[in-house]
């Protein structure tokens, strides 16, 4: 496929790797913000090919992983008890809420449907006026305009049986929260290319300056990631801390104006709970008053009890880069992809799941033997 295949060229990848090895003189800790980047780093085996001095810290960039438990519980309540048809992106289905996941609710008879696009959920609502449809609108800035436009489409079609359960999160406030942490040990950041396709990267200039950290807007294919890493290490080795754009083939400085407008038209900024991290001020999106009739929380006013992540899960510290999955006593024992205790083990993007798939069995079989 054009614009994918050429960024997987093995020879050029080797040249990038040689250059990264050549210029790296000191230990650097780089955070890739986005779960899609984590996925690509692991899938292509890039981390193992980098100099040992470079450590990757996997950031909070999986909207599924950071969706708080009580929201999942609310989604489960809506389809199990309130009788709505819940449409969701596939990723969300396996994530456990307080007690169970949407997948187990579906197995027990709830009407849960996987959709590829929110427009499919709108279409379903239009074709089934007898059903109450709720779309679980999860996502970062990349997904927010699509979710917003689904509401606009529903409004134009005057659908009364469509609502969204908004679970939107914003990247820059989360990054600021992580960088502010006194224990933060991140030297450089690969910003998420697709979030920036929508939002641009102007928001990162003050962050790079305030925390003296290089930020490189980076794509998702192997060559993109390698170039992004090289650009970050070059800055670090020279003592620079500026914002650079590796992903210029789709990312413009101000992002996509129409997409940003769609977000601004439909959503307002709100405080937001991040699973494993806690409340981050002004890091979420809620529907504006004008669209209140499409807000599932207002349409079905139930208060779900707040549930803690659990005393044992250290996902928050892992996402902040303070700990590695191996530091967790549950990792690979009580907490596995088939029986996850925390969100980072659930999504294939989650740090713990990525570690488990790549190193998990080997690490534990040897340790278990010695125990």
């Amino acid at each position: 496929m054009k614009y994918l295949q050429e960024y997987r060229d093995p020879q050029l990848a080797q040249e990038y790797l040689r250059e990264i090895h050549r210029i790296t003189t000191r230990p650097w800790r780089i955070m890739e913000v986005c779960g899609g980047q984590t996925h690509s780093l692991v899938k292509n085996g890039i981390i193992e090919m980098l100099p040992e001095k470079i450590t990757f810290i996997h950031g909070p960039g999986c909207p599924v992983c950071v969706t708080p438990r009580h929201l999942i519980d609310l989604a489960i309540y809506l389809c199990e008890t309130a009788g709505v048809t819940l449409c969701s992106y596939g990723d969300m289905l396996r994530v456990p809420g307080g007690e169970k996941s949407l997948l187990s609710a579906k197995a027990a008879g709830a009407d849960v449907r996987i959709v590829y696009s929110p427009l499919e959920a709108v279409k379903f609502a239009a074709e089934h006026p007898e059903k109450e449809v709720v779309f679980f609108a999860v996502g970062f800035e990349t997904t927010a305009p699509a979710n917003a436009l689904s509401v606009v489409h529903a409004a134009r079609q005057k659908l009364e049986n469509y609502a969204i359960l908004s679970s939107h999160v914003l990247v820059p406030p989360a990054l600021a929260a992580i960088l502010q942490d006194e224990e933060c040990c991140i030297d450089g950041i690969l910003a998420a290319g697709h979030v920036c396709t929508v939002m641009g990267f102007e928001e990162y200039f003050p962050l790079a300056a305030a925390y003296q950290v290089p930020i490189v807007v980076t794509g998702f294919e192997p060559l993109d990631l390698l170039q992004g890493i090289l650009m970050t290490v070059r800055q670090l080795e020279r003592g620079q801390a500026i914002v650079e754009n590796q992903y210029a083939r789709v990312v413009q400085k101000s992002g996509n104006i129409a997409a940003r407008q769609a977000i601004a038209d439909v959503f307002k900024i709100s405080d937001r709970q991040w699973r494993g991290i806690g409340c981050i001020p002004e890091s979420g999106l809620e529907l504006k008053e004008a669209y209140a009739t499409y807000d599932a929380r207002k349409k079905y006013p139930v208060q779900m009890p707040e549930v803690n992540e659990g005393d044992t899960c250290i996902a928050g510290e892992i996402m902040k880069g303070l700990k590695k999955p191996f530091d967790c006593p549950n990792f690979g024992r009580n907490c596995k992809p088939e029986t996850p205790l925390g969100a980072a083990m659930v999504s294939s993007e989650g740090t713990c799941a990525a570690y488990y798939h790549f190193h998990g069995d080997a690490h534990f079989s040897s340790e278990e033997r010695s125990a």
Binding site: M1, K2, Y3, L4, E6, Y7, L12, E15, Y16, E19, I23, C34, G35, G36, G61, C62, P63, Y89, Y116, S117, P118, L119, E120, G139, F140, T142, T143, P145, A146, L149, H153, R156, Q157, A192, H194, V195, T197, V198, L223, D224, Q227, L230, R234, E237, R238, G239, Q246, A248, R249, V250, V251, N256, A258, A259, A262, E349
Partner: protein, 87 residues
């Protein structure tokens, strides 16, 4: 986060009484109907980045080449200012 894949716009159609532009986008042989609401400037033949059924960006063909020339680019820079790495 945010799986988005580039595909080629093959056809553009208007829906909802001519208010919404939708495209047939080709991804290596499969066709999906994609909203162009966020890309009013997109035309047939453009490669667009598609996320959850919406095109969110147009691929710039010139910028797309830069990743292939970057190593040579920084090599030339270093020849102009040798020893910068040691700073």
């Amino acid at each position: 986060m945010c799986l988005a894949i580039p595909g080629k716009v093959e056809e553009i159609n208007m829906i909802m009484d001519g208010t919404v532009r939708m495209a047939e986008v080709n991804f290596g042989g499969i066709l999906k109907t994609v909203s162009l609401e966020m890309l009013p400037e997109a035309v047939v033949g453009d490669y667009v980045l598609v996320h959850v059924g919406f095109a969110i960006g147009i691929v710039d063909p010139a910028e797309a080449e830069r990743v292939f020339g970057y190593l040579a680019e920084i090599g030339e820079l270093e020849e102009l200012a040798p020893g910068e790495e040691e700073k």
